[in-house]
């Protein structure tokens, strides 16, 4: 039944309900009929019994058997009466009906007075007595229940006919009526099928079939309308999206082309840079070779003149030649410094954990060995470590400590310190001395190439030491600066930003 179509289910339901109602009604009616018929049958027999008992008093009182028999024969009018009898006061049969009565149908002795159903029969005992007098005997009657069953069969037949008629009427009616409910639902289903198979959201379900079904169709149509609108919007969006995608693709292609151009340019720049680095290298190389050669000649031949013509040369001639030699040697030193400086920027970086305290100790002990006559108080904080290129940081520390060593030369109690401090949360290393110091007004010139704050007579130098230091510290991504005052010493600070990438110095 579950997979029956809705029209069949509706018809089935209606027929079932009406049949059930009819069946229940008929059952109640039949029960009522049965009980009321039994009641009325007993009533009738009782009335009849009382009448007969009254009529039988005379016959019993006067022992008149024929009269009694005649009186009982009157029962012939009722075919349902099976048997009747009169018992005298002693309980002996006085008279019976019908004349050819089977003995089995007649009780030997009268029973309790009253009327009751027994063994498929209605039986009754009625005492016979003169009003207020002693009992004369008992009247007995037995009647079959054929009348009851006849009535029952008849009403049963009628009931069956009515039932059949009602059920077929209900069937016919429901066939017609279910259409008003199932019709709109089927139409709705049809519409839904059409929508799902043809993807056509513009069709609408027809209304009708009552409020709820109308509402259902309305809701369905509303939904369809919404879907229709949304699908149109979706299609429009899709169109727009496609347009956007095309636009995007175009832009991506454009940007890719731009990037490729930029990349090409970068590649070219890198190639140019490599070429420039190569040229710089070649330049430094040729400076190293070719610029020094003439200086050797100048110095060498001046010396030869000084040696070979020692007697011919006047004192100022010798002095002039000595100056030529000094100048060429100084220029040689400058060239060497320049080469060292350029090498600082060109050597590849190799970072590792470096013990700065140990390096400072090595440098200062070398300085002490080189000038054993000097007594300098050295304070080196132990355990200072940093991630750095060992060779470069050695050069930087060497320059700083050598600087301090040099500029404390005229100090009666020279002191040089190497330690660390924190500036803005960054660990900063400090090289401090109590030497000649410098004027803070020229602090920015300290680290420039070939800039010197002292004359060659005061302190010797080529002016690349601090420039070298700055290059090294900057290659480490750090910073270097100085504080000082004339005659009160100088303090150099530097930090090494270990997280900063290599500045990309050439190889």
């Amino acid at each position: 039944m579950h997979d029956w179509p809705i029209s069949r289910r509706l018809t089935g339901m209606l027929v079932l309900v009406s049949a059930l109602v009819l069946l229940l009604t008929s059952a109640v009616f039949a029960a009522y009929e049965y009980w009321s018929f039994r009641g009325s049958a007993r009533e009738r027999m009782a009335v009849r019994g009382q009448i007969l008992a009254l009529n039988a008093t005379a016959a019993l009182a006067f022992d008149d058997v024929p009269a009694a028999r005649e009186m009982l024969t009157a029962l012939r009018a009722d075919p349902n009466v099976l048997a009747a009898a009169l018992y005298d006061a002693r309980g002996e049969v006085f008279a019976s009906y019908p004349p050819a009565l089977e003995a089995s149908l007649l009780p030997a002795r009268p029973g309790e007075p009253g009327y009751r159903f027994e063994e498929g029969m209605l039986i009754g005992y009625e005492p016979v007595a003169v009003e207020g007098g002693t009992p004369l005997g008992t009247l007995y009657m037995a009647s079959d229940l054929d009348a009851l069953y006849d009535t029952f069969y008849l009403s049963g037949l009628i009931g069956l006919l009515v039932f059949a008629a009602s059920v077929s009427a209900a069937y016919g009616l429901s066939r017609v009526l279910q259409g008003s409910i199932s019709g709109p639902i089927l139409a709705l289903a049809q519409t839904a099928r059409a929508v799902s198979s043809a993807q056509d959201y513009s069709v609408r379900a027809p209304g009708g079939g009552g409020r709820e079904l109308n509402e259902l169709a309305g809701a369905f149509n509303h939904m369809l309308a919404r879907i229709d609108t949304q699908s149109r919007a979706l299609m429009a969006n899709e169109e727009q999206l496609r347009a956007h995608a095309t636009e995007l693709e175009r832009r991506v292609a454009e940007r890719t082309a731009e990037l490729e151009t930029a990349n090409e340019e970068l590649r070219r720049n890198a190639a140019e840079l490599t070429a420039a680095n190569g040229e710089l290298d070649a330049f430094a190389y040729s400076v190293s070779h070719d610029l020094r050669a003439p200086l050797r000649s100048i110095d060498g031949f001046s010396q030869i003149v000084l040696e070979d013509y020692v007697d011919e040369l006047a004192a100022d001639g010798k002095d002039a030649l000595q100056r030529v030699r000094a100048a060429s040697q100084r220029m040689g030193a400058l060239i060497d410094s320049l080469l060292r400086l350029s090498r600082i920027s060109r050597v590849p970086m190799n970072r590792e954990l470096v013990d700065l305290s140990a390096i400072a100790t090595d440098i200062t002990s070398e300085l002490r060995k080189a000038s054993p006559d000097r007594s300098v108080e050295l304070r080196i904080e132990p355990g200072l470590e940093a991630v750095a290129d060992r060779r470069l940081i050695e050069v930087a520390l060497d320059n700083l400590l050598r600087n301090s060593w040099k500029y404390t030369a005229k100090q009666p109690a020279p002191r040089i310190e190497f330690g660390s401090t924190q500036t803005n949360g960054v660990r900063t290393f400090v090289v401090r001395d109590n030497g000649a110091g410098f004027d803070m007004a020229y602090a920015d010139k300290l680290f420039a190439e070939f800039q010197r704050l002292h004359t060659q007579e005061e302190f010797e130098g080529t002016g690349v030491g601090l420039a070298t230091v700055r290059r090294i510290i900057r290659r480490h991504g750090g910073d270097v600066w100085a504080e000082g005052a004339v005659g009160e010493g100088a303090t150099f600070y530097f930090n090494l930003q270990t997280h900063t990438a290599d500045d990309g110095g050439g190889s």
């Binding site: 050797r296 110095d299 030869i304 060429s328």
Partner: protein, 147 residues
């Protein structure tokens, strides 16, 4: 003192004069053969092209790196490649202090690497020491012995 010859491979006439002077002032009287470029140096060592090889080899080669025609490195390479000359003492005498020149020279089998100082007094000192060491102290296998 060893009376072998000194082969000086040097393109600068000034440097040739200064080197000779430096030897002279320290009484190193060994004959100095001068080659003005790498090709000349090879000719001195291996004879002219197609010609026979000279019988005697110099006791020491003082080799500049920056030379016309055939560079000092190539000369060194040839010297080390030839059976006859592969143990010949070669001292690089140059202006360069470039690390790669040092590394390359030693890689190719230079016996020594000396930088020419600008200061002539220092230079004559260096020349004297070179002469003392390579012509007097150092023992080199005989060229004709081979190995």
């Amino acid at each position: 003192m060893n009376n072998g010859k000194i082969l000086l491979v040097e393109d600068s006439p000034d440097d040739v004069a200064l080197t000779k002077r430096a030897f002279k002032s320290h009484n190193i009287t060994n004959e100095v053969i001068v080659a003005r470029d790498g090709a000349e140096a090879l000719e001195v060592l291996f004879g002219p092209k197609g010609g026979p090889a000279p019988r005697a080899l110099p006791a020491i080669v003082l080799l500049d790196l920056n030379l016309p025609k055939v560079s000092g490195m190539e000369v060194l390479q040839r010297i080390r490649a030839e059976e006859r000359t592969r143990f010949l003492p070669v001292v690089i005498l140059t202006s360069s202090t470039e690390q790669r020149d040092l590394v390359e020279s030693y890689k190719l089998g230079a016996n020594s690497y000396v930088r020419k100082p600008v200061d002539f007094v220092e230079f004559t000192h260096a020349a004297q020491q070179l002469g003392l060491y390579w012509l007097l102290l150092n023992q080199a296998p005989s060229a004709t012995d081979g190995v």
